[in-house]
Symmetry: C2
Subunit: 123 residues, 2 copies
Amino acid sequence: MCGGGQNKHQCGCQGPRMERFIRPCMLLLLYEKPAHGYELMESLKEFGFEDGADPGLVYRNLRKMEKEGWVESEWETGGAGPAKRLYRVTEEGIELIHEWSQHIRGNIEKLSYFLERYHNSIG
Amino acid sequence: MCGGGQNKHQCGCQGPRMERFIRPCMLLLLYEKPAHGYELMESLKEFGFEDGADPGLVYRNLRKMEKEGWVESEWETGGAGPAKRLYRVTEEGIELIHEWSQHIRGNIEKLSYFLERYHNSIG
DNA sequence: GCATATATATGACAACAACATATATAATAA
DNA sequence: TTATTATATATGTTGTTGTCATATATATGC
């Protein structure tokens, strides 16, 4: 999210990065429409990955989530360009989206508490 | 925040953890009142670090932030118990709190976008 | 023929949370 | 008196992860 690299920001604060936020985003995108990695890199911009997500991050997460059984893939040959691996979310992955949403809700509350407290003491 | 360890949750989702959220929280606490590490471990509970933050995490972050010039410390001997290192936030650290708050605001927006989209497609 | 866009993949490195453990001091309970 | 607990700081080790660089291959446009 921030902290140098492709999602730079000006201050030296380096955080918080919310590293694994990319995973629920990817699952939700795949729920909406099966897609391949290159496509996800683009559409992740909508979730705040400003310059498009890092390819290594996307592909490795897809591999890992497939290993975990959250997504499944099939090769798509015969289209334009090189062969693409089409991913779709599994039932298990869909359950995970629901659980993740709960945690994201909790994280919003925690971040909001920080902001509230910040305003009361400094802001 | 979640993802195993001291801040466990039941689902296997492992994220997002928002790792470095501890740093702005520590700075804000030190702005409100100079404190030592052991004290911070306790008061971090108020920010959602449920079982109290990990000692290693707290002390290493204090060291690192002192190295960066965001906090400064002095030994406090002569009280009850072992000597404690009293930390206070520097001017530079205070500026950082402001910048961090902006990013936290941004992160809330991103997480909220996820939730909104989640509700529109599944929830 | 050559550059570019598309598409997937991996190697290397640094940052960080997580967990375990070591240390010392004072107060309290047995 | 001894053992235990609370206080307080610190470090070593491991696994995960983001980041960056790079390798590979295919199709399209110039």
